[in-house]
């Protein structure tokens, strides 16, 4: 029961700011709500017994990506803090489309034949970090290295794209 209350609170903490992200007129407010939504997702990770992912979520998303987005807003949208909206029919159509997708997804999630492992057959979470680091640097070593190369390439590419071009 207390787990249920925790879950509901975290879902509200995730979904309400996410709703504000997509509806707020002021884009700076939207970015701050995005940070709040990321914190809610980190809480969901904690409930799902993934504490390392929760920490990574707070560090990377809340700490880095939200700040990066705020910087981009400050650098681009000085005149356009209130963005123009689409016409009302287009917005209603988008709302109906995404709500239909939501109903379809929930229906599938309820009916799907998901294979679930019983509670007593799971590995205890005491060895959690050992297992995670073992799988990252063992089973998934090649994707790990590729991800690091990707990050390096993205870093260099972002710097080159955003660098001011001076012709002299």
């Amino acid at each position: 029961m207390s787990l249920y209350v925790c879950f509901l609170g975290l879902v509200v903490l995730t979904i309400m700011p996410a709703f504000m992200v997509v509806t707020a007129r002021n884009i700076v407010h939207a970015a701050v709500y995005l940070g709040a939504s990321f914190v809610g997702v980190a809480g969901l990770y904690l409930l799902l017994s993934a504490p390392f992912l929760a920490a990574a979520q707070v560090l990377i998303y809340v700490g880095a990506i939200t700040v990066l987005i705020l910087f981009a807003i400050m650098l681009t949208a000085q005149r356009l803090m209130r963005e123009p909206r689409h016409a009302l029919p287009a917005r209603i159509l988008s709302g109906v489309l995404s709500f239909g997708l939501f109903v379809l997804l929930v229906w599938t999630a309820q009916r799907g034949p998901w294979k679930q492992v019983p509670e007593d057959q799971r590995t205890p979470s005491g060895e959690y970090l050992n297992q995670l680091s073992g799988s990252l640097l063992g089973t998934y070593l090649l994707p790990f290295e590729i991800a690091s190369v990707l990050l390096l390439a993205a870093l260099v590419g972002a710097i080159i794209l955003a660098k001011e071009e001076r012709e002299d």
């Binding site: 249920y4 879902v11 996410a18 939207a30 990321f38 681009t76 995404s98 297992q131």
Partner: protein, 108 residues
């Protein structure tokens, strides 16, 4: 058929992920500011991560495959955000605007 009782299971997390994802879809469809569209994309990536970790928690006896995969998703999302925002800044420098309806240099 539906299981809405006071019981948290895989289906609850899948429903939460679906709600987050559909909010992201709505944002991508309705926002006009390129930075706002990138924010909605981040919401969708988070929804995918919630699903991955939920499946890892309930369907995988060792917990780890889904969590390792969502670490990779977070990595790729960080790279995507950096490059996407750099492109937005580059566009702003060229046309003094980040409204996606006005970014039509390649259209005609």
């Amino acid at each position: 058929m539906f299981n809405w009782g006071f019981e948290i299971g895989l289906h609850s997390y899948l429903a939460a992920g679906a709600a987050l994802f559909c909010l992201g879809v709505y944002g991508v469809l309705t926002r006009r500011n390129a930075v706002a569209i990138l924010m909605a994309i981040e919401l969708m990536l988070n929804a995918a991560n919630v699903n991955l970790v939920a499946f890892a928690r309930y369907g995988d006896p060792t917990f780890m495959a889904g969590q390792a995969f969502s670490i990779f998703v977070i990595t790729v999302a960080a790279a995507e955000a950096a490059v996407g925002l750099a492109i937005v800044i580059c566009i702003y420098r060229n046309i003094q605007n980040v409204n996606v309806d006005d970014i039509n240099l390649l259209k005609w």
